[in-house]
């Protein structure tokens, strides 16, 4: 059995930022475990730009953003174990396998869960039709193209308007494929507005909102797909079918936090985020186990992943240095109108130093709204925001002075306001 102070599972942006922050907070005995052959996680295949404006004040590509954190890690004594797969976590003992060391166990005083997420595939969304080849998740096609050097198809339809799908529409077009359409079942896009502008509009790729795939044709390689318009209850409307002759269908239909290890460890999961329930210090219900990044809730911006993970790293370091600090009384953060989830789900008022960052998503598009923080009928804070959309994660910072006025649990809601003439 190997002993260490902090073990971090995953060397993507969350794991790297958490490990470096914990190290800088004074804990030097840290092991980062990664199943891939290199650190960086999904950023390595996200070769497009737009990363790092918040964190570094400049516009970087995914590999550049990852590279900066890998460089920071290299300046420390943090041990990075590559090509190592964690099998289970039990009472802060990690069981893992690798080609190099076979089976091994690592006992840590604190663990940071940073496993990220994976793509939803054809099964959970029940795409009907033939089972021919040529159906890929967008991220899988992205890895093939950007890292392995294979263009997975020549004529492409994309289901789902998540960011990876939009980015792949542009990427495949630039590499010579014809992207015929992007179909989105919702009446709005799930991706960032900027990606609709620069990935679809720039290339004249049509976006069909309130449309879904109703047939996939072809037993060998697929030969075509049919999309149909859907009604308010998302049922396909007969007579609205459109057929596209294509050899490839990409799915960009959402991401699912990869929490098998978390569930196996008996840690409580929030069904709204599919990630662990955490406090303001990113600590789960198991003392000394922290979670951050996309394994906790799916983010749109890696900059926010880094910030959240740094908080997890600092909290884990404090936990180790204080020999497992007592956790104070918990105040819940409840979801009010138009708010689908918050992270954190609760906090300890006496542990808040300056304020608390609350991340959340809204349920519908709101042109002009106010984010209200209330407690027992008392309005604690209001934040005016424009262009709220479910596809874009929101963040508010509630200062401690206002939080101190709370009487019990707090509620976060998004209220539409009428525009003054």
């Amino acid at each position: 059995m190997i002993n260490c102070d902090i073990a971090v599972i995953g060397a993507g942006p969350a794991g790297l930022a958490a490990a470096v922050a914990a190290y800088n907070a004074g804990v030097k005995d840290i092991i980062v475990i990664e199943r891939d052959k290199e650190a960086g996680g999904i950023l390595n295949q996200c070769i497009h730009n737009g990363f790092g404006l918040h964190r570094f004040g400049e516009e970087l590509s995914g590999p550049e953003y990852a590279g900066r954190y890998i460089d920071m890690l290299k300046e420390t004594d943090i041990k990075l174990k590559l090509k190592t797969m964690v099998l289970s976590i039990d009472n802060k003992v990690i069981s893992a396998v690798s080609e190099e060391n076979g089976f091994e166990q690592i006992k840590a005083k604190a663990i940071i869960l940073a496993m990220g997420c994976r793509e939803r595939n054809r099964g959970p969304i029940s795409v009907p039709g033939d089972r021919g080849s040529g159906v890929f998740s967008a991220g899988c096609a992205q890895r093939y193209l950007n890292i392995e050097g294979y263009l997975v198809g020549k004529r492409v339809v994309i289901l789902g308007s998540g960011d990876i799908g939009l980015i792949m529409a542009r990427r495949m077009t630039l590499e010579g494929a014809k992207v015929l359409a992007v179909a989105e079942i919702m009446p709005f896009t799930n991706g960032l507005s900027r990606n609709v502008a620069q990935c679809l509009d720039d290339f004249g790729i049509p976006l069909y909102l309130s449309h879904t795939v109703t047939d996939v044709i072809g037993d060998g390689r697929i030969e075509g797909i049919v999309i149909s318009q859907v009604d308010e209850s998302m049922k396909p409307i007969k007579g609205t079918e459109k057929r596209f002759d294509c050899d490839t269908l990409l799915l960009s239909v959402g991401l699912v936090p990869e929490n098998e290890l978390t569930r196996g460890a008996g840690i409580e999961i929030d069904p709204r985020t599919n990630g662990a329930i955490v406090g303001e210090d990113m600590q789960t219900n198991e003392a000394g186990v922290f979670a951050c990044g996309n394994v906790l809730h799916v983010h749109d911006l890696v900059d926010y992943v880094s910030a959240e993970s740094e908080r997890a790293g600092i909290s884990a370091a404090r936990f180790v240095l204080s020999g497992g600090a007592e956790r104070g009384a918990q105040t819940a953060v409840l979801n009010g109108s138009n708010v689908s989830y918050t992270v954190p789900q609760h906090f300890s008022p006496e542990k808040i130093e300056k304020g608390i960052d609350i991340f959340f998503r809204v349920r519908k598009k709101i042109r002009l709204g106010e984010i209200r923080v209330e407690s027992n009928g008392i309005k604690l804070a209001g934040f005016k925001r424009e262009f709220l959309a479910p596809g874009e994660m929101q963040k508010i910072t509630v200062p401690k002075v206002l939080l101190d006025r709370a009487e019990g649990d707090i509620t976060v809601s998004a209220v539409e306001i009428e525009e003054a003439e």
């Binding site: 730009n49 516009e59 550049e64 193209l145 950007n146 890292i147 392995e148 900027r194 502008a197 620069q198």
Partner: protein
């Protein structure tokens, strides 16, 4: 007035640009104002792609233009990248192709390989 979604950062501000005076409103930063102006007069994009590389841990190397280039030049630049091959070792930020397609922008490596 032309309405645009700013693509400078993921925030995606909704800009309104006056086509005659090039005055921009709705931006939250200076870069957004510049984007709005350019988008009407001379739209610019950063090109990101991957090129063949030999001797690294992967067969492809992520690259990008070190600054935004005219939107109409994107496919011309892609053609240059299709016939280009890099050889490891390469450092992040290394210039692989200078002044690509006379745009004044260089093609730089996005990572070490």
């Amino acid at each position: 007035m032309k309405e645009l979604v700013c693509i400078v950062c993921p925030r995606g501000c909704h800009l309104q640009v006056d086509e005659n005076t090039l005055e921009v409103i709705g931006n939250s930063c200076e870069k957004g104002a510049e984007y709005g102006k350019n988008e009407i007069s001379n739209p610019l994009r950063t090109v990101t792609a991957s090129v063949a590389v030999e001797g690294g841990i992967h067969p492809r190397l992520a690259v990008r233009t070190n600054r935004a280039v005219p939107k109409g030049k994107m496919f011309e630049i892609m053609n240059v990248l299709h016939s280009f091959k890099a050889y490891s070792p390469i450092k992040r930020g290394d210039v692989l192709i200078e002044n690509v397609c006379n745009t004044g922008a260089d093609i730089i490596a996005s990572r070490d390989i």
